[in-house]
């Protein structure tokens, strides 16, 4: 006799559970983990390198790089003096908690304050997969256009900060900031937003200060 079993379980609950374990491991090491997401070319690696410069002497940074193939980003990070570990996803379009679990222990966590996990460049697939990070940050960039919150709404949900990169291109690209912000506000009310340019350095100080404040919060006993 066929029977129906009620389940009502999130499809990705197994990944979520592993992500919670990653988060606990980051907590034990006193490390703030940040999941950095964006489309290809939005400036994920540039932001990491700029953030390193801005935080030097204040915060010790490590990087986990997710890429389909190649170690270009990891090489750039290491050349800049950041402990970095490369995950090659072998074609998979997103990082998941399993990959991060394997990678995080390749970094000297005890000597770090922040680990930035650079997700695969993609505005769709990474969104559903929790990694165990404390913060998720999305980068949008001016040349991508002002309609991205409407076209990729899920990317704007569940992130704790939004970086709007390449603002130095605003004079050359049609981009209605009000229209863009309206879409963001509907999807993620009150989202803290940092318009900046990794090329000129404009706006980077506000982003770096915000990140330092999150690290300080994470270090204080009240956070745990």
């Amino acid at each position: 006799m066929p029977a129906r079993i009620q389940i009502v379980e999130n499809i990705l609950s197994a990944n979520d559970e592993l992500a919670a374990r990653n988060r606990a491991a980051f907590d034990r090491a006193g490390v703030l983990a940040l999941n950095l997401m964006a489309s290809p070319g939005a400036g994920k690696t540039s932001l990491i390198l700029r953030t390193l410069e801005a935080l030097r002497g204040r915060v010790r940074l490590g990087v986990i790089e997710g890429d389909l193939a190649s170690s270009i980003d990891t090489d750039r990070a290491r050349a800049a003096g950041i402990p970095a570990f490369q995950i090659n996803t072998g074609g998979q379009c997103h990082l998941d908690a399993v990959m991060v679990q394997a990678a995080m222990h390749e970094l000297p966590l005890a000597q770090l304050d922040v680990v930035i996990i650079e997700n695969v460049g993609n505005l769709v697939c990474p969104i559903e997969f929790r990694l165990g990070s404390h913060l998720s940050v999305l980068i949008a960039s001016i040349p991508e256009g002002d309609d991205k919150p409407y076209k990729y709404p899920s990317a704007y949900r569940g992130v704790q900060a939004l970086v709007v990169n390449k603002v130095d291109l605003l004079p050359y690209v049609p981009f209605r900031m009000d229209y863009f912000r309206e879409g963001v506000e509907a999807l993620n009310p009150g989202l803290v937003t940092f318009p900046l340019s990794c090329r000129t350095g404009e706006g980077l100080a506000a982003w770096a200060d915000w990140l330092v404040a999150r690290v300080t919060e994470n270090r204080s006993p009240a956070a745990h």
Binding site: M1, I7, I11, K151, P153, R157, A186
Partner: protein, 113 residues
């Protein structure tokens, strides 16, 4: 192509619950998927036939319940499905809106024997 990971998780959940119930076979799986989850039914179906093969869930029917993105206007309370490039309320034109539905991604139930 994150549907492969999603489909694998669906299979794991179905097999776990079927085994727990002492069932021999999974006949059908009911999935509830919101449009914000960016999952293509056809893609899940495609992977399903590959990965369920040789398991007690081989041949099981996948039934999809799709939930469209719905917004709720915080000014007038209207619940609506937004247009492709505009989230404003169609009743009062307010842009103060919140997501009401569309992020669902769950296995609702399975049918076993």
């Amino acid at each position: 192509m994150h549907e492969l990971s999603v489909t694998q998780s669906v299979l794991d959940i179905a097999l776990t619950h079927a085994e727990r119930a002492g069932a021999k076979r999974v006949l059908a799986i009911d999935l509830v998927i919101g449009d914000l989850a960016s999952i293509l039914d056809d893609s899940v179906q495609f992977y399903w036939e590959m990965i369920a093969k040789g398991t007690p869930a081989e041949g099981a029917t996948l039934r999809f319940t799709r939930l469209p993105l719905e917004l709720r206007c915080t000014d007038c309370g209207r619940i609506f499905s937004p247009g492709a490039d505009n989230f404003s309320c169609p009743a009062c034109n307010s842009s103060r809106v919140r997501v009401n539905q569309g992020e669902e991604l769950r296995v609702e139930s399975i049918e076993v024997e």
